[in-house]
Amino acid sequence: MRVAIAEDSVLLREGLARLLADAGSDVVAQCSTGDELLDEVRMSPPDVVIVDIRLPPTHNDEGMQAALEIRRRHPMVGVLVLSQYVELGLAMKLLADSAEGVGYLLKDRISDVEEFVAALQRVASGGSALDPIIVSTLVSRRRAHDPLESLTPREREVLELMAAGSSNQGIADRLVITVRAVEKYVSTIFGKLDLPSSGSESRRVLAVLLFLRG
């Protein structure tokens, strides 16, 4: 897996690079600004980029702009945005009309190395990774008539993992059940929420997110 990193804190950037090298990934570029990252991607597109949302010069939304730009110009490159705050509005902006090859995680998540690498691999191969905070915010959102009330606790768990971008295999591993069982849960959930079953897992993420957002 070829990875490019844009992070202005040297400490974190090098920590990330070490983490990825340990995990057997190839860190092809380490940048400290969004423009540098865009240049690198233009010259030699990696499989996935990791972007800090707050980058110089103003530390406002340069990282976000770079991420959106790469999503627009290089749809084959996965984009994982890291931030010290996760915001539903930003997640929706980042996904726009597709959850393919995109991730948005709280920066803290990198310390759970195995899970972080798994999420990065998902994004690199066209899947998605959304921070649990986003998912739980959406799931616990107050609604006038909450259709989620019809779900069993187990179905709710599956829904949350699904929304965060987990594959059926991933869900099965996490809940220690079979993939067949996961598939059954998924079809029950789609039935209860009256959602049209969609093919790919990343399309499923967007459908669930839009449904939860209301």
Partner: protein, 571 residues
Amino acid sequence: MPRAAVLWSIAALGLTAGSLSFALALTSDHVNEPALQATLMDWVTLPYIFGGLIAWWRRPESRFGILMVLAGFTMFASNLAWTNIAVLHSVGQTCDLLPAAILLHVFLAYPTGRLERALDRALVLFAYVTAFGLELVGMLLGGFGPNNVLEITSEPHAAELLLRAQLLALSACALTGVAILAFRRRREPRPARRSLALLTNSFSLGLVMIAVLFTAGAFDSPGFETIRRATLLVLGLTPVAFLSGLLGARLARSAVGDLFVELRSDLAPADLRDALARALRDPSLELAYWLPLFGSYVDVDGRLVELPHDDASRRTTMIVRDSIRVAALIHDPVLDDEPELLEAVSAAAGIALENGRLHAELGARLEELRASRARVLEAGQQERQRLERNLHDGAQQRLIALALELGLLELRLRDDVDARQVLKEARREIALSLEELRAVAHGMHPAVVSAHGLGVALEHLVARAPVPVRLSVELPDRLPGRLEVAAYYVVSESLANIGKHAHASAATVGVARNNGHVIVEIVDDGVGGADTEDGSGLRGLADRVEALGGSLRIWTSHGAGTCVRAELPCA
């Protein structure tokens, strides 16, 4: 001011000239209906001389009065042609057409007595040369009958042709003068006094009559004598129109009396300008108070006023009391013609102006207070933003890096279960600290608002609200940072209140721009009766909103929900 003796002497001279005209006409051997002719000529001559003297006395700085007096005496000089004495007759005859030229001069020189523009000067000069210079040539050629002492050769036919040309040229001059007057009037649209319009009309009418008279003369028209009498009648009216304008200014003093009455009835400072505008008959009047403490002019509410430079459209008159500057009147230049009125009005308004100035000073201080409040808020905001940034770049990044190191270590010690457990525990502690730090940082300054805009930030806030919320943000583009942050706090605090007190089942949050304001409105369907005094939440919001020049209003009644509405000015 001209000395009274000079004025009285000229007045006496004028009366003498008037009587002399009668004597000349009655003793003449070549004037028909002498009494009528003399009366008609005096009807024009005397008003010009006396009107001119009054104007000179009242407006010594303007040359207009002197010019009128000269016009009167020039007309008398042309009367000399009536005499039988050859020398005087010749002088009078040479001046015969001169009145037409000097009247053109007078009309175009109103009100300053000077010809301001080159075209005016050229036209008047041409008229003088035609009326006097060519007349002299005609006399040398032996025109105008037997009493001509200036004759050097007898070419009566040439003299007559010349006269005809002179008359036509002067007609053209007069009509050009009419055009100039009309053009000026169109170019300077002002709230002109009615008397001024009347005066310009009488100038134009006079010039038209002169043009008609001279054209008729050039072609020996049969009605010439009738036209001449009518022309003289009209010309005599012009000084009357002029004097009525002066008299109008005198009448305006009665408006000062009205002002006194209004001032006595405890006039509010805000109404003083209107009262002054009425007294001065200038609806465009502006009143600016001088505040020595601030070193600037302000309006009645204490807002800064820039005095305009005196030009064709605005003039400024200072009001000084006991040699201390109090205020400035910014007015129409027409009022320059009535300095006494301005003076009287300023004097009458004295105490009220002092009151107004105190009121304005209070307003200015309040304005300053508001501005300093906004500055304090802004400075606090910037400081909090700086702290948030430091926290983000410092402690938070370091903790994350530390957690990452622990994570990597955990991987390497895969086989040591105890060590892994300890490391996992440590990472959990760090995660908790980070969460707390995040809350602190967000409380200091909601970075997401300034980085990504109000719409994005509100989406998350609303999703986590204690009740279902319908959000509508209608902003075409980003707002200034301090407005975004204030609006964010208004929504955040209001939603928190709904969670605490409202027992609501739903709410709406709306943000929109309207008439130079950002409107933030949060409405719930709860029990209402929100206590606006209780707790510092709403009070703090109101402070924040007011410091930005906005207003925060809360409608709440028991059982009927609550509406919080903030209006923030946004140019």
